[in-house]
């Protein structure tokens, strides 16, 4: 059973080879750090003094602020849809369900692929932050990246928190992507829920609203209780566990498959 799940997951990974989901993960991870290099090198008069005391800390903030505000959520919505779309676009769902695989195997192996892609994106994002930090210093030697140590523990800590914060969105988007063959529907619903969340972000129960979790976890939220970030992470885990169960039961019990 475990071996068959591993083989099927390997097959699922093979399907993502050379796909938009793969390139989105690589390019998406590099996008913000590279833009930040241009930003810093383009206006050294402004940024050298700003980054002077602790360049890595400030540079890390520049990157995570943009990511947690919008791009991370967009990435999760897009990559989930793109991975599931591999089957819809090629008309292969029926063949997948005609394989000797349990419904749980099909559901969770693909979910694992999306998971690994997102985790990979986090690793690559951190990698590009470091590379781009040093790159900035190479292009403009007054940036002091080489004389300060890379804050690995902070990078890992922020990454883990942000990873937990997107789990709920990931599960909801995964279910929507399986439910709707049309790529636009899960994308549209995801964007609409995010926009709506942004509009109600001062709501005292916003910790129950998954599409705002990355925002709540990364930023300080004036006007909201101080433990909002912690609550958001716990609720994200609860949402993802519950969502996975409900999503799996819904997909497994559909009258027609593929």
């Amino acid at each position: 059973m475990t071996q068959s799940f591993l083989l099927n997951t390997k097959a699922e990974f093979l399907k993502t080879k050379k796909t938009a989901a793969f390139w989105l993960t690589v390019i998406g991870a590099a996008f913000i750090p590279v833009i930040n290099v241009f930003k810093c090198v383009g206006r050294p008069d402004y940024f050298i003094p700003v980054l002077q005391p602790d360049p890595w800390k400030v540079f890390l903030e520049y990157n995570w602020q943009i990511a947690s505000f919008f791009l991370l959520i967009m990435y999760v919505i897009l990559v989930t849809s793109l991975v599931v779309q591999i089957e819809y676009r090629n008309g292969t769902w029926k063949q997948v369900y005609a394989l000797p695989r349990s419904y749980a195997d099909i559901f969770f192996s693909k979910f694992l692929v999306v998971h690994v892609m997102i985790a990979g994106c986090f690793v690559l994002f951190n990698f590009f932050i470091v590379v781009c930090g040093y790159g900035t210093a190479l292009l403009q030697d007054q940036f002091q990246f080489f004389s300060h140590p890379v804050p690995w523990s902070e990078m890992i800590s922020v990454s883990i928190k942000m990873y937990v914060s997107v789990l709920a969105i990931l599960v909801i988007q995964y279910w929507l992507s399986l439910r709707f063959g049309n790529f636009i529907i899960p994308m549209g619903i995801g964007l609409a829920l995010f926009t709506f969340g942004f509009m109600i972000r001062q709501w005292e129960h916003i910790d129950y609203y998954p599409y705002m979790y990355p925002f709540l976890v990364y930023f300080k939220n004036p006007g909201l209780p101080p433990d909002m970030a912690q609550k958001a992470m716990i609720h994200s885990l609860v949402w993802s566990g519950g969502g996975l169960g409900v999503g799996f039961l819904d997909i497994a019990n559909r009258k027609g498959k593929g």
Binding site: K10, K17, I86, R89, N90, Y97, A98, P100, K257
Partner: protein, 325 residues
């Protein structure tokens, strides 16, 4: 009935149902299979499909007859009730995974990953079936795609895609192949190639093959058994011979002769003959084997024959006749 006689009865029944080699008499059996997408719209009506082991069973019907729905139900892609579908003598619902391990399928258009190469597509399915790596080369050779194995599938012709889809169905060396319209959209050359491949799979590799089609002229040449479906009802099911007999029952032999009235008198005691007009007669329910005898009678009576032959002799006409009667 005592418990022992019950047991004995079951033993005998099982012995009848199973051949000595352990293969059931029918690889696929459906028992009163019903299916509807909405409560008011029934797609399949109490279908009792029987696909004999070792056969090439052609499932015929026009578009929308219920062929694909039936095949999807057989593969578990549509929810059926317990006991409605049995494959390899086992109820499908309680043995889904073990049954699917022994089936290769192609449903509707080929299901292929266009961004991957032919080999990579096969590798995806090989992993899921846990087959040996060497099977990829073998099925590529069987389907004549070995030279195109490293080509991205989206650049394949439709015929190549169809053959690759068959290769995917073969990667785990299944006992049963379920192929839904495998010649659909192919040019004449592609149709001939696919037909040869199906024949070869049956003869050389001993596969039981269930193939659906609306291209009757094509399946007629490869089938050992037929099932004809129309509007969700199974109208006919049997061997090629049984279908031929049915065809002869429904076909008409037409004769153009000099003295039609005299010919009518000569033939009416022996054949079901009718006068069409002053120069033509029609004979119904006549087999091909009986025609020399019929012609012989007329020749004996020195009635001059200008033209004689069957009308509506191909399976397609027969099929249309069956589904419209």
């Amino acid at each position: 009935m005592s418990i022992y006689s019950c047991f004995f009865f079951r033993l005998v029944t099982n012995a009848i149902l199973h051949r000595l080699d352990g293969m059931p008499e029918f690889t696929i059996e459906t028992d009163q299979l019903d299916y509807s997408f909405t409560p008011s719209q029934k797609i399949l009506h109490t279908l009792n499909l029987r696909v004999p082991s070792g056969s090439i069973y052609c499932f015929l019907g026009p578009n929308g007859a219920g062929k694909t729905t039936t095949l999807r139900a057989l593969l578990g892609l549509l929810k059926t009730n317990p006991g409605e579908v049995s494959i390899f003598g086992l109820p499908f619902l309680s043995n889904r995974i073990s049954i699917l391990k022994r089936i290769g399928s192609l449903i509707e258009q080929p299901s292929l990953y266009g961004h991957l190469t032919g080999s990579e597509n096969l590798e995806v399915f090989r992993l899921s079936y846990s087959s040996e790596k060497k099977r990829i080369k073998e099925v590529l050779e069987i389907t004549g795609l070995y030279d195109a194995r490293n080509q991205v599938v989206r650049t394949y012709s439709l015929g190549m895609k169809q053959r690759l889809a068959i290769a995917l169905a073969l990667v785990h060396d299944p006992e049963l192949l379920i192929l839904d319209e495998p010649t659909n959209g192919l040019d004449p050359q592609g149709i001939i190639e696919t037909r040869h491949l199906i024949k070869r799979l049956h003869q050389e590799f001993n596969k039981t093959i269930l193939i659906s089609s609306h291209l009757l002229s094509e399946v007629e040449k490869v089938a050992t058994h037929f099932g004809i479906i129309h509007k969700g009802h199974l109208l006919f099911q049997g061997t090629q011979k049984a279908l031929q007999e049915l065809r002869s029952e429904h076909s008409t032999f037409e004769i153009e002769a000099e003295d039609v009235d005299r010919a009518l008198v000569v033939l009416e005691n022996k054949f079901d003959v009718r006068k069409i007009d002053d120069s033509r007669l029609s004979v119904v329910r006549i087999s091909k084997d009986q025609t020399p005898e019929l012609i012989g009678f007329l020749v004996q009576q020195k009635i001059r024959i200008y033209k004689a032959g069957f009308i509506q002799t191909n399976l397609e006409d027969q099929f249309i006749q069956i589904i419209t009667s």
